[in-house]
């Protein structure tokens, strides 16, 4: 039915089969949209948040998808600026993932604020001292850059590509993509960093606060670094999931290996910095506020105990770093899969503690740990971008030449 739209030389499932899949995910998306409308029309009383938990599941989701979507800017940097040419075979997909992640983050932010129609105040009445203002500016502009990076891929759609103007436009955009990749990397450094700064500047919250270098707390640099390190792992993970769903090999092993190796060394170097940061915070910063390291891990409910930092730093950091930096281990498909899953979990866990544990930890000595349970509306609106992402990625895969090596790896006999 839609064969005229499918790229040349590749095979896709039947349109009814594709439609059923989209309808199932679409139902989940509608559930999320319903929850979103409830939040917009009835207000944030639809959530499980409270005055002690002003930042919760949504802000974590924002930070997590932006970190995971960091594969777009870092892969772009490696491909266009540093010149790792092999990565041209995965950059399209990295851009699609980045676009999905960043549009999701903007959507969640649009639901998360109490007065969404005033969101433009963040630009109009901007407070230049606020890390959140920096996030808003860089994130919005970078999303525009991602959209520009996405355009050539759309223009390469079979029917559009037949129109000479669009064909030439796509070609010319590819020629100057290094400029956008450089802009994207520059903006990403700031918004990823300022998202880290959101927590690091909170000098009233000893769990989050970090010492500063100039105007930036250490979390600024750690967040940028970790997004660059872990983002490519998420790109590889989604590529593997895509390969699993389609039953095809879409990217050659040498491309995956290169990205995994770079990611591994980035995670390893990030872990060194993160461990130094944790050590300094635990032995210098926290005691200067009258708190011991274990005060932050004494949650009676069992959630925020020492295990959470072990899970974040060891299981989600050191283990994937060791696997990915070892050539023979990352060549092992099972170990590679374990490493990229652990890495994705690790960075999400880091964003979780830097949002929710900050809120949960009692600063006043006469208060106890604060508990929070998300409402179904929060869960649904957090799943909403996942459903949207699956649909967009599916549409992109079906109709656009996302994976340049697909034809070569999966020859189709006409």
């Amino acid at each position: 039915m839609d064969s005229a739209l499918i790229p040349k030389g590749v095979k896709r499932c039947s349109f009814p089969q594709f439609s059923i899949g989209i309808l199932i995910v679409g139902a989940v998306l509608l559930w999320g949209v319903y929850a979103m409308l409830l939040c917009w029309f009835k207000g944030l009383n639809q959530t499980g948040m409270n005055d002690s938990y002003g930042f919760a599941l949504w802000i974590w989701a924002d930070l997590a998808v932006i970190a995971l979507g960091g594969g777009a800017f870092f892969t772009g940097l490696l491909r266009y600026i540093i010149g790792k040419d092999e990565l041209k075979n995965i950059i399209n997909f990295a851009v699609v993932i980045g676009f999905i992640c960043y549009s999701s983050a903007l959507l969640i932010l649009g639901i998360d604020v109490g007065q969404p129609i005033r969101s433009w105040f963040i630009f109009w009445h901007v407070n230049v001292h606020s890390m959140l203002a920096e996030v808003a500016f860089c994130l919005s502009i970078y999303f525009s850059v991602l959209a520009i990076e996405f355009v050539p891929l759309i223009l390469e759609q079979k029917q559009i590509d037949e129109i000479p103007f669009f064909h030439n436009l796509a070609h010319n955009m590819h020629e100057i993509m290094a400029v956008f990749a450089a802009t994207g990397a520059f903006l990403s450094c700031f918004h990823q960093g300022s998202l880290g700064g959101v927590a690091g500047v909170l000098f009233g919250r000893p769990f989050a606060f970090r010492e500063h270098l100039l105007v930036w707390p250490w979390t600024f640099f750690l967040f940028t670094w970790s997004a660059a390190a872990y983002g490519p792992c998420f790109t590889i993970l989604l590529t593997k999931i895509m390969e699993g769903i389609t039953g095809k090999k879409l990217v050659k092993d040498n491309v995956i290996d290169l990205l995994a190796k770079i990611s591994g060394w980035m995670i390893a170097s990030y872990m060194v910095a993160k461990l130094v940061d944790t050590w300094y915070w635990a032995t210098v910063t926290a005691p200067s506020k009258g708190l011991t390291f274990m005060d932050f891990y004494s949650d009676g409910s069992g959630l925020y105990t020492i295990w959470i930092i072990i899970a974040e730093l060891f299981i989600g950091g050191i283990v994937p770093a060791i696997i990915l930096t070892n050539k023979s281990w990352r060549a092992n498909k099972a170990l590679l899969l374990i490493a990229i899953i652990l890495a994705a979990v690790g960075v999400c866990l880091n964003r979780w503690v830097m949002v929710l544990q900050v809120m949960a930890h009692p600063v006043l000595p006469f208060e106890g740990w604060f508990a929070y349970m998300p409402s179904w509306q929060e869960v649904a609106t957090t799943i909403l971008p996942v459903a949207y992402g699956i649909i967009l990625a599916s549409l992109a895969y079906r109709y656009l030449p996302v994976f340049p090596q697909e034809r070569e790896l999966n020859p189709v006999e006409d």
């Binding site: 002003g54 109490g114 007065q115 606020s130 005060d295």
Partner: protein, 278 residues
């Protein structure tokens, strides 16, 4: 924040709350809610989303009977000065919806500019900021008894204690009308101060050596740390530099005012100044 006020005649309004006198009656909370049109819910059993600009904590020494001791601690917004007028909440607000007024020392909240991101709430270690999870609804007829001097807040914005700033404005209007630029101590008093039956709350200008609050705590010129015996501020060592001071003759109460390492003595936390934040 951007205005360059002269600090020569700047006021620094604040409170001293004598915890030895506080009985925990809650009159300050009621007066505050009534004075400032603070909304309430039909069911107030879920306290974590109740709005209480003035909040009352119950502290105990955690000793078994008969050694159990209890202390009530009223907690308004601390109106922190931070370092050089940068309280924890003000510098984080992305839309400049909250501000530190160097003329009065009051941390304001502009309800019509706040878009409800709640970053300020996350930044405040005292939980002094509250979100309007619902639109305000008063029992039928009660809207006729709202204070005309304080605008009610809409759903989706943050609110907090303003140190009854409207009373300051009214007092200043009167003073200007009478050709004065300065207020007498009694002319500007917060509603909680006046409502306290035990006289536990004292309100005034911490910069003015003739005001009771100054005499009671003798704030140091650098950082405002109290020098009077038994005086303390909540979470002093975080560098928030609050303008709400407390008095207690009980060491265990003063110790609960801040976090201490086991080997540290109460009140001996050095001259830690906030560093690293801008």
């Amino acid at each position: 924040m951007k205005e360059n006020h002269s600090n020569d005649k700047a006021n620094k309004f604040g409170m001293v709350i004598d915890l030895d006198k506080c009985t925990g009656c809650g009159a300050c909370m009621v007066a505050c809610m009534s004075e400032n049109n603070v909304p309430f819910k039909k069911d107030e059993s879920k306290k974590l989303d109740s709005i209480t600009w003035m909040h009352l904590y119950r502290l105990t020494n955690k000793k078994p009977f008969p050694d159990t001791e209890v202390c009530y601690l009223p907690r308004p917004c601390m109106h922190c000065e931070g370092a050089h007028g940068h309280p924890p909440c003000v510098s984080v607000c992305p839309a400049t919806a909250t501000d530190y007024d160097k003329k009065t020392g009051i941390v304001s909240q502009i309800y019509t500019r706040c878009f409800g991101c709640r970053y300020c709430m996350g930044a405040c270690p005292y939980h002094a900021r509250y979100f309007n999870w619902w639109d305000p609804v008063w029992p039928e007829g009660m809207e006729n008894y709202l204070s005309p001097n304080v605008s009610p807040r809409m759903r989706g914005v943050v609110e907090k204690c303003s140190l009854c700033f409207h009373r300051y404005q009214l007092a200043m209007d009167k003073a200007y009308h009478e050709g004065r630029k300065e207020l007498e101590e009694h002319e500007y008093q917060s509603s909680c101060t006046q409502a306290c039956p035990a006289g536990a709350i004292t309100f005034g200008d911490l910069n003015n050596p003739h005001h009771q609050v100054h005499k009671m705590v003798k704030p140091s010129k650098h950082g405002g740390k109290p020098t009077a015996t038994n005086a303390f501020r909540l979470l002093e060592r975080l560098g928030t530099n609050p303008k709400i001071y407390y008095l207690s003759s009980k060491e265990w109460v003063r110790r609960l005012g801040d976090n201490y390492l086991p080997e540290e003595k109460t009140g001996e936390i050095g001259n830690h100044q906030p560093k690293g934040h801008h």
